[in-house]
Amino acid sequence: MHGIVEQYLIKTEPYYCPSGKEIDLFKSAYHLRLPMMLKGPTGCGKTRFVEYMAWLLKKPLITVACNEDMTASDLVGRYLLDPSGTVWHDGPLTTAVRYGAICYLDEIVEARQDTTVIIHPLTDARRILPLDKKGEIVHAHPDFQLVVSYNPGYQSISKDLKQSTKQRFGAIDFYYPDPEHEATIVAHEASVGHEVAAKLVGIAAKSRALKGRGLEEGISTRMLVYAAALIRDGMRAMDACRLAMTRPITDDEALHKALDGFIEAHFA
């Protein structure tokens, strides 16, 4: 393995609690180097899953968080200046392609469409990345795989991937784990008792019933882990749940009242 990507190897096993066949599915997809799309709401474990898979497959993992202002150069690289003149610097995607890493583009829909199309030649049979500015064509390393995450969210009318992008990927659906698993995860991640974790999961389940009926998104596993950690460190449950769960998720007072009601129902 090339030294440049070796630093991206994940040394210790990340904690990942599977909720279905996703590990086997991903393994088979990687075997074919099929580009993969992980779909699901925020904070349900997609990032953790990729980390786990990278560790399991013993491949380096390069993660890029996409945003609207990201340009193609931010992904593939650009010329920079140094005392002797101009030098080319590979962007994270190019590094992964050249030296064989898993490249994880988080929240790919956030990137503008002109940015997304640069992955097209990489994700079909060609597996190449043309660097226009440099006049180079990089052929993908055999270990390279592209993984993107994607939150279908509300009836995505405007922010949606083009069909020509979607159809280049295999996809696995993610959702919050079932209550039993989710409580186990929260208990493990925040080192709290199972009982506290189960209560937090109960509150989250109620908030998820409000998705599309007031809440844009339900309370995520990530939020539960935060709240649990605060409780572990001695914060009152009500305060912790407000701070880490109900206040960040919405500004609506009526929703706050209802969510507080759920907290009260679980924590006597």
Partner: protein, 670 residues
Amino acid sequence: MQVPSAGREEAALEGIQDPLVREQLARKLPALRRHLGRAEEHRALLELCEELDELDAGDRLALVANLDYLLERLSVDALRRWIITGMRACEEQPERLTRYLRLEDELARASLAFEASGNGLETFRAPLQFYANGLAGRPLELKNRRNAVLNGPPLRAVITANSLLLPEGYSIVDGTDHFRLYCAAVAHAVAHLRFSPMHQDAGSLKPMSIAIISLIEDARVEYLLALDHPGLRRLWGRFHAPARNETALTFRALTRRLACALHDGRVEDENYWVNKGVQLFRERLADPYDYRAFREIGSILANDLGQMRVRFNPQQYVPEPAYCDDNSFLWNFGEPQPPPQQQEQLFVQGVRVERVEREDGGGEGGAGTLVEVEQRFSYPEWEYRTQTERQDWVTLIEKPVQLGGSPRIEVTIPRHRVRQSIFSLIKANQLSRSAKLRRQWEGDQLDLNGTIAALVDYRSGVQPDPRVFTKPGRHAPKPSVLVLLDLSESTNDRIPGRYDSVLDVAKGATIVLCEAIGEAAERFAVHGFSSNGRHEVEYFRVKDFDEPFGEAQAQRVLALRGEHSTRIGAALRHACGLVSEQPGDHKVVLVVTDGEPSDVDVFDRDYLIEDAAMAVRVLRGRGVISFCLTLDPKAKGYVSRIFGNDFLIVDELVELPFHLSKAFVKLLNR
């Protein structure tokens, strides 16, 4: 404000029996008017006065004398609750009631302050609705149950499989934290919905047995729900408090004591019967899911009461504490139960639409009409069987919106939430979107990519591009959105269990959206259509592009009526022409409809669907995007044939304002 004329008013007073009250009221009404906002309030007050026959003559007059003071603080509904509270609290204490109505009693003032601060269901509806949906894990519609008689027993909640009727208000004697009281009622209902068998055969059970079995069932389902929601025990416990000091041996007192003891799980009551009940209950908790076993306890205890000769009056009995439901969910009494009358008086969630009779009947002044004369247009239609276009087949007539004649509808949005979330939605998406303009000649910040490119060119001896700045600017091409409302007859359909129609909700949603988007309203038009055969497709330009949204425009939206049918293709083609005239290159027609295309002269179901699909293709060809919000839950089959993927079925009517606004914002940004 619309005020009935003097003549009508006198006639309205006829319903009041007591001549003294009638006389006083006639004298006072002009002064009271300033407290009575809408004509409905007016009517409600007169109705309330008619009901005052329940009171002593002296009390009646005292009350009427205080009306000015009371109505300055309370709505008529709240006043009604205030009187009911007095009658309940002063039961069998006529002197105290007299003092109460004269505002000389401590409770009268406390209850007045309480009602004045808004503690009814409407105050809490938004958070409660969320609470109910979340706790039930599915939509559980909350409805308002109005107290129909002044002197009746206090109201209890009514549970049905998909909705929950809650009393319009509890009284201060039920507890002081009414939000929590409503929460307790919702949680109690959810417990029944989850754990109680529904509509058990009451068979030959005596009313007393039914009351006691239901009480035991209340305790059982609460116990079960509290297993993983321990906080609910405390919530319910708050409202058992008064029973803890109860010592009487009446049926009401004993059952309150039993309910409280079951909740607390203690056997220290002084009463043998109560203790026995708790004992039996605790023994059976080994299997709390065994409904039969618990029902047995109820029978045993009811039997005991009979032998103790405790009197029971089923007419007077209401389950306690106040958060309990009326038990009708549990029982089937043989004959089909008539639906509770209150169903008709339900309040509407979300956008509240109220009808106001227009006394002056005129549509003049202020609401200037947009289209002064009718204009006719001809459009082709697509005949899918022959795959040909019928030229000049349809006549579309642009008509001005008729303002007079129909009752004016006043839209109020009690749920602040609706508006607020739309505002924040729109703010977050910044309709007049600012953006960073790259590669500018001048600006405050360097454009990283541009600068590097320039330096690279410079070093390599090439003439660099000097545009290396970014500056804040606006996205130049502003999109134009035309909202096209289906105004066919079917939009007049009442929504089950509510008193407004599909069209009312659509109007409310449109107004909320127009008001919320403010300045951006100029990029936005509202048109409507209906059809009466191919020679008469009516088209109304309710609010046009470049027209700000103000009172006159709102009036026009409100004046829209649902008539005739839905020949959508022609309307789409016309809308397309209008939106195409707008500057910029981003144009959208957003259709809001409630059913499939149809018309009186078309018998082939597919014909208008295929024509509409063709119209959508024509629009797309001209660079106009069409999107459809439909309220027809069964639309899936045909709507996708017309609009492809560009549609959304809104199954929850209440959510229409959100969906309309969301679709609008998303389309603007597409």
